[in-house]
Symmetry: C2
Subunit: 115 residues, 2 copies
């Protein structure tokens, strides 16, 4: 698949929100979840800034958790504001997606302006 960079703008953050709504998680695992979900090109250098952003916006709660398999993890949990933001994200997504679909189907009458 070609470069999805621009089309992922504003979308990846929503994906992370949704993943965290599914269950609490941490950066490294989220990257793999995204890759597994079909976004194979998404690297860790993309996800960590998103998590920092979510934290700054107070959409997630954070906890340091010791791990058996390496350094401690930063486990993120979606809070109420996060759930609210997730709802808004899906509303925006459906808004854009529906307009895109109607533009794609392109049945919008050109007679409107001509006659």
């Amino acid at each position: 698949m070609d470069d999805l960079t621009e089309m992922l703008k504003g979308v990846l953050e929503g994906c992370v929100l949704q993943i965290l709504h599914h269950r609490e998680s941490y950066g490294y695992e989220i990257v793999k979840a995204l890759n597994q979900a079909g976004f194979e090109s998404v690297a860790d250098g993309t996800v960590y800034p998103i998590l920092i952003r979510l934290e700054k916006k107070h959409l997630v709660d954070v906890a340091r958790v010791r791990s058996e398999m390496g350094p401690p993890r930063k486990v993120y949990t979606l809070n109420n504001a996060g759930v609210h933001a997730l709802t808004g994200f899906w509303e925006r997504w459906e808004f854009v997606a529906s307009r895109l679909e109607s533009i794609k189907n392109d049945k919008h009458n050109k007679e409107d302006r001509d006659g």
Copy 2:
């Protein structure tokens, strides 16, 4: 509707491509077409740079056409490369949209990793 800015990144250009595939057009008219298609917040300052970009990428042909209703128009026509780009755009869109839908439905089994 909230701010769609980020979600429109990489999408508006495709919309313009599709509008031009529908029929040749010019900036001022394209802005109104987008507004009419539901993207009411899109201003002319957004569309003209897109058209310049399309021209630089050689996806459109341009012709100056005198108008009865004001200054001359720059009428853009989608060429073969443009049609090709449009196809690629819709492929990327459907790719992203399908992944988004499956993330949204969220039925992806969490048992996969646990055991």
